[in-house]
Point group: C2
Chain length 214, copies 2
Amino acid sequence: MVKRVSDAVKRRLPRYYRRLLSLDEAGTESVSSKELGALLGLTASQVRQDFNLFGGFGHQGYGYPVNKLREALEEILGLKRAWKMVVVGAGNIGRALAGYGYLGGDAFRVEALFDVDPAVIGTQVHGLTVKSADEMVSFINENNIDIAILTVPQEVANKVAHLISSSAVGAILNFAPVKLDAQENGPIIESIHIIDTLMSLTYQLSAKNITKPR
Amino acid sequence: MVKRVSDAVKRRLPRYYRRLLSLDEAGTESVSSKELGALLGLTASQVRQDFNLFGGFGHQGYGYPVNKLREALEEILGLKRAWKMVVVGAGNIGRALAGYGYLGGDAFRVEALFDVDPAVIGTQVHGLTVKSADEMVSFINENNIDIAILTVPQEVANKVAHLISSSAVGAILNFAPVKLDAQENGPIIESIHIIDTLMSLTYQLSAKNITKPR
DNA sequence: CGGCGATTGTTAAATAATTATCATCATCCT
DNA sequence: AGGATGATGATAATTATTTAACAATCGCCG
């Protein structure tokens, strides 16, 4: 049962979970791979393949029990516990994320918000007082922070990421449009590059007017 | 030269561009596929394959001229012109994005910000006055808006997306944690699901403690 | 002015991911 | 009670993506 989970599957798991959650809340008892695939734009085959990486959740002739599968995904994704986070960089995006009491408000908690700007330090953002970046590493270590959300300007992103990596944090969620250089045994890094997604859109918009999609 | 561009390549193009831009700004004249690959965590082979989809930009024995390649990518990605955007939903993320004078501040411009909440309509956000959602479709059409950034609550995301689709907008950048149902000949849709990326992190953090990476 | 070193563009091979197929089995209906 | 139905789990086939290999080519240096 310890099969390799590809990146592609890893990206699909949260999507399955979100959909299962909403089906469960709607009171749906079971769902077939075909139905779920249709809801997510995937083939039935792929849905079954994916779930079978983690074990057999389905009943033949019946489909998958929504509640049980949702529970299983919750376990797999580590959502049965709360994760403590800090936001590093109190700019526009950083402040927005500090107010993130979102989906499974239980699972993700922002514990602190840091910045270097003296004019910003001490101000209130969504009930948090912005702390000085000097305190960051010790705060992370003393409060067992799991995830650092990095929203600093790209020029300093790697420097700050390096500093964060010297703490005991488990993962970094990077919003700076820069590739952070990963370190052996350092935190897990995932990036969200908004600007890249925008450029992907303009690429497609530009291409649309030249060649039709096949 | 009209080869099919896969999704994987499409996602790498902006990364190439960003790196080329910074190399160019640093005054670097040429870069080999090997060097560029190392900077981006790709193989030299892959870099060459990708560029060759769009034509031969390199000089044998020499590498790729940074400036010329950057220009070419700018053309390919459609960054030679300005793109007009609106932000729909003046919540935390929406307000943050309204202040988006980011990278190629020339290429992307936020022209307006919409919401349904009477308490928010009329307020100022980063120099923009929040407009009523009632005006949205006509504003998009009259001002030739290219991209709508959707940052409304998930419950109404599809409803609003549908409304946007009735306008002449070319693309939607969706931040709601929901799969928008695409329509034939409707706008191009790309989504950024922050919550999914967080879950992908907790999945990896959870998995790390059970099985070591092979 | 000719050979050497380096790096491309291209084709081929290997690997990974997705889709299709099918035997098996649980449930339901008559 | 038994067969039809429908959907899983597993395996096989297909397709896509990545990596490797190598001949062709350019500039540089002597």
